[in-house]
Amino acid sequence: MTDKSSGAPLTAPIQSATFSNPVNAEIRRAAATGIYDIRGGGAKRKLPHFDDLLFLGASMSRYPLEGYREKCETSVSLGTRFAKNPIELDIPVTIAGMSFGALSGPAKEALGRGASLAGTSTTTGDGGMTNEERGHSNKLVYQYLPSRYGMNPDDLRRADAIEIVVGQGAKPGGGGMLLGQKISDRVAEMRNLPKGIDQRSACRHPDWTGPDDLEIKILELREITGWKVPIYIKVGGARPYFDTTLAVKAGADVVVLDGMQGGTAATQDVFIENVGQPILACIRESVRALQDLGMHREVQLIVSGGIRTGADVAKAMAMGADAVAIGTAALIALGDNDPKWEAEYNALGTTAGAYDDWHEGKDPAGITTQDPELMKRFDPIEGGRRLNNYLKVMTLEAQTIARACGKNHLHNLEPEDLCALTMEAAAMAKIPLAGTDWYPGKPGTSF
């Protein structure tokens, strides 16, 4: 310790990397309230991600396609294994499940409008199907969730696909919650619950346990819908090899794989940040399971959790995905966390880009709310237009990369088109470290 009165140079104050300001703030918050933090969104911690991969592009041994003249197809068929009517999409970027309840009716409408304009599908959520959403979505995937809020056979039969939600990336093994502030009359009625109470969504399905039961559950759903529509199984990024294997065994047409960056409407922060795997670590394991079963491309794989750009789309597809899904990115495209509401974000104790208290229903952008006044700020037609624009840009970006790699369909992208920037990404994605032909754990190598 330096004697400050001596005039000698002082030791600079050093913040602890372990006890950082955000960590200390959380300790103080916990000490003051006695309750864990609940928030929306996905993992915010820094994780190995698509940014840690690069495309190699064409060169002497690869022949590129002309950017603006030569075709690069983007269509995808989902549910070709058993369904009479697979879902045919123009682009491989779908909209992930988000509930009416978590989102306002107009926000759900905007997702339907934007997705339909772009030629892709949107997905219901924990709270049932609304007429606005069905009416504005050309292709609507109906989520079949543990809570079964709003679940009814009429909606099941008017869906274009059924997605059985076993888990999601933000909280594999966890249920959801929708706090009382957002339980309007309409939300309460759709969920058969009293208005204004905090609703818990179960973490486990009420009428099946394990993949053997699920196989029979899928039989029932197929019988009720006449074997017409595809059945997806959505899993969080927990044990992707085994989860994919068991989903295929249970009879899925499509596996939806959601990494820990994938968002939720509300759950405990400790859950979001500490349970599950980043999507980068999940994709190749899931694809390996499909390949081992001889089902790659037979059972389609949709990947989600942190997809933001056409580059992310192309990288996921190069690793073997058939399509991707976006949730958080779609909300941002609609206007969520827009800096134009900065003063109001400040008033809520946050800042644009960091706002994640979606469960409180006070969203200044009028998207994650049931407050009629806030909802008026959001125009579903304009929102739909913005989402369509964004989806178009992502598709063009992915095509640009695919052409540079000499591919005339996004599905033709392959792991050999990629290299990894870090050891972690190389190991997780099983993609060679840039400048080498090696990744940690590569068969035939000793480390």
């Binding site: 099941l156 619950l193 009420p206 009428d207 019988e223």
Partner: protein, 225 residues
């Protein structure tokens, strides 16, 4: 009476035939023979028809039923009448776990016993069990009535919402937030009606009523486990 013999036809054809019945069908009486414990028998029906299953069924018999009356002349496997919307399902024998799970409406009658998780997440269905029910029954039950003429197993009504539970015999234990409640005249009336419709030989006055203490309705750390 139309007969569907599962010794001759596949499940798909059987369900397709029943699904093809319109609202105003004049073929209202159906019989399914040789069910041999098949799964998903008569699920997703949506017409005012009466179906009698001559034998025991596998999983999800009568799942998501609307309007139809289904009589099972045997026992039923897991998830019978799951998510039923309306209509009536009567089981002569016993029912396995999750009977009436998430049901929104209609009446489910089990003349024997029901296993665990009977009425789990029920959302408006009425269930009458002539015998006993297993553990974790009416877990997270939202609305509707569960009537048990015999005994209830462990953790009855755990995390219950607004469903009403009536038990004539003993309750091994109550689940979190489930308490015994006063039996008022309106409850006796509901019970009398359900017992009569279910053909149960019991008097409403012999039952106790259980419901939610509503302590878990607001998320408080004191309520966390």
């Amino acid at each position: 009476m139309q007969t569907l013999d599962m010794a001759d036809i596949e499940l798909r054809e059987m369900n397709e035939t029943l699904h093809a019945q319109a609202e105003n069908t004049n073929q209202t009486s159906w019989e399914i023979v040789n069910p041999k414990g098949a799964h998903a028998i008569a699920c997703g029906l949506d017409a005012p028809i009466e179906v009698t299953v001559k034998g025991s069924t596998g999983y999800y018999c009568g799942g998501m039923n609307k309007q139809a009356t289904i009589n099972i002349e045997g026992s039923a496997g897991p998830g019978v009448a799951e998510n039923m919307m309306s209509g009536t399902i009567v089981i002569d024998g016993d029912a396995s776990q999750y009977a009436g799970a998430t049901g929104h409406g209609g009446l489910l009658v089990i003349k024997g016993n029901a296993s665990s998780r009977c009425g789990i997440s029920m959302k408006g269905i009425d269930i009458v069990v002539h015998g006993n029910i297993g553990h974790m029954s009416a877990f997270m039950a939202q609305t509707g009535n569960l009537v048990v003429c015999g005994d209830a197993g462990d953790a009855l009504g755990d995390s219950l919402y607004e469903a009403r539970l009536f038990v004539r015999g003993s309750v091994k234990s109550l689940g979190a937030d489930c308490i015994e409640k006063e039996m008022r005249p309106e409850h006796l009336a509901i019970l009398a009606d359900l017992l009569e419709r279910a053909g149960a030989d019991a008097k409403p006055e012999e039952f106790k009523r259980y419901g939610s203490a509503r302590e878990l309705y607001t998320f408080k750390i004191d309520n966390a486990y």
